[in-house]
Symmetry: C2
Subunit: 361 residues, 2 copies
DNA sequence: CTGAAAGCGCTTACAG
DNA sequence: CTGAAAGCGCTTACAG
């Protein structure tokens, strides 16, 4: 087996380059990192040796020495299998979109600064989750945690290892948070449904109870409904879980129990709305004719749904890019911890609220 | 500024643990890595100190010492902005799905082995791409390269740094490749369109010319069309680019030039089919009544399209998981290089080919 | 401008 | 079973 191992040429080290160039490893390092302008001749010899040998510095050695890995970790919550195998919603269908678009935003911003993304997912009842996140923390210069990837009680412990930015969470003394403006977004949507369309009854199909986004959206809707003197429905019967299957189940149970449906249903997010749309269509209920349905997020698929989904657009990529920028500013000095960064949302009127393709209504 | 820096408690090191436990750093390491069964008492003292201090080993130091990073790099191609800003196809809409589902598969498989994913994207005319990929290579134990992330001529150079597995590429002496069975998949789809539906004319709306997947799919379709004595259309007018905008543009130009449309259009992938569906619908052409349209991949959104898209399902997550497994087996000993792993595909009949919801046709 | 040397924080033969 | 020491491959004061 020794022979086999020997067949793997291990890449050249800085010592190989130094030898080939006839200089010290310090000079090689300086040329490569552009420090303390080496002499022209030194530079050329080093560069030639680097090219000849195909030298690229080892990341681990650089990281250890420079105390900077140029890696940020991103942790998100994997979709529990049982949620997705029920109904017609395939596993990949779920949650993919919002998370992945955010990650794309993080990656683009990171790339610009020479950072790479280390991604890891955790399951819901993942005994090992905390340990794995700690390991990721020590493979990175900082961590970005998606909604509910980590229980708030664990945050302080993680933040002791590296700077932490949460997404759609709540800022803490040791972590910063980035989120969309749920209050303004839902208020605008609610007024459109209640005032522009004049719907007399409205329900909030909730997301996870422990999600700050969910709470804020519910509160804004409830407030606006009260102000418009509309009937507001929520509570256990309206409890979803941010997934399509959850939205579909709520509708199915309501109909099975012969409960009357409100004139409008504001879903906690777009995924939930997808499930609601499917369940309603399966029962032959017309959207928006009989029931208006709206989402939140404006994930890419929203415009492809039938009817096309009215929703509140979050600047998803920017959410990710901002999270990276904030984290970056915390690396080395954590003076941004505790901050709450709120990005603006936009009401996107399509068809599912009762508007027509052309304009309102 | 020194004060500010001091306010960042840097995490405890193995020396801190050793001191607290009253043992050597070697013993701490042994307890943590489960080697050479330390004595019960030693173990307990170390474990207590680890817990008290909240010690987690630094990844870079571990990697340097153990010569293993437990990180695999994944490189994919970013969508060029100009392709997406034309037409109604938003940036996030594109290419996201296939790539992200594969990455999910890689991540899940990696997680099981204690590995994390380091992701990086490259633009099309990204001058810096090669350097960035080399940097990623040296931050990982191996690299998985998505379709066209890297020009084949660069492969050998990268493979000298770390093991490399390509996705939807071609195996080389120094790299392994994982792909779906394009030939079998497209053959089955072609026969369904040509024989079951009996369409007399059919076109192939191509993907990137330099993509092996594209070539194999085209070839299978051309062969089956010839065997069925159907008219086969392809060539420059039918050149797409794997994106929705590309498919839409082909249709728009064809119609602008008053060219007759074939009875069936087999698209290189699902994204292309999305664009074709939109363009056709915009011109009031009925699918599948006037023109049948099919995709390839079965990305999650395919079932949400109208009409629901008939396509060839690739086991997308498995493609990713397999790529990881192969790469893993190459780390330490590259004896799997040169292998070509082909995963089976499945024909998924929905509506866009002319079948009805219930069964065929 | 350049080199010798220390040090980053671990793992792992090597002795005992 | 345990510890002292070497070494992983870099960067960066420190001298010269």
């Amino acid at each position: 087996m020794a022979e086999q191992d020997r067949s793997i040429q291990s890449p050249p080290t800085i010592y190989d380059v130094a030898r080939a160039a006839g200089v010290s490893i310090a000079s090689v390092s300086r040329v490569l990192n552009g420090n303390r302008n080496p002499r022209q001749e030194t530079r050329e010899r080093v560069l030639r040796a680097v090219a000849d040998l195909g030298f690229v510095p080892d990341g681990a050695a650089r990281a250890l020495s420079a105390r900077l890995k140029e890696v940020v970790g991103v942790v998100f919550r994997r979709v529990p299998w049982q949620l997705t195998s029920e109904g017609s919603f395939a596993e990949e269908d779920e949650s993919l979109q919002f998370t992945d678009v955010i990650n794309r935003g993080i990656e683009v911003a990171a790339q610009r600064q020479g950072y790479n993304l280390l991604v890891g997912s955790v399951g819901v009842d993942d005994q090992d989750a905390h340990r794995r996140i700690m390991t990721m923390a020590r493979k990175s210069d900082g961590l970005i945690l998606h909604d509910r990837a980590v229980h708030p009680s664990r945050l302080a412990q993680i933040a002791r290892q590296v700077p932490v930015v949460t997404l759609a969470g709540i800022a803490s003394p040791v972590t910063a948070n980035v989120r969309g403006d749920n209050g303004a977004g839902m208020t605008e949507l609610a007024r459109h449904l209640l005032l522009d369309h004049g719907y007399p009854t409205i329900a909030y199909l909730a997301g996870h109870a422990d999600s700050p986004d969910n709470l804020a959206r519910r509160e804004a809707l409830a407030r606006e409904a009260a102000r418009a003197r509309a009937l507001f429905a929520d509570g256990p019967r309206w409890q979803g879980n941010y997934y399509a299957a959850g939205g579909a189940r709520v509708i199915a149970l309501l109909l099975a129990d012969k409960m009357p449906l409100p004139r409008a249903i504001a879903c906690a997010n777009d995924q939930t709305a997808i499930g609601v749309l499917h369940a309603l269509s399966r029962h032959g209920i017309d959207v928006p004719g009989e029931v208006a349905v709206t989402g939140f997020d404006d994930i890419p698929v929203a415009r492809h749904l039938h009817p096309r989904l009215t929703t509140v657009r979050q600047p998803i990529q920017e959410l990710g890019a901002t999270a990276f920028d904030v984290l970056r500013s915390m690396i080395g000095s954590r003076d941004r911890a505790g901050r709450e960064i709120v990005l603006p949302t936009t009401l996107v009127l399509r068809e599912s609220c009762g508007c027509t393709a052309g304009g309102r209504q």
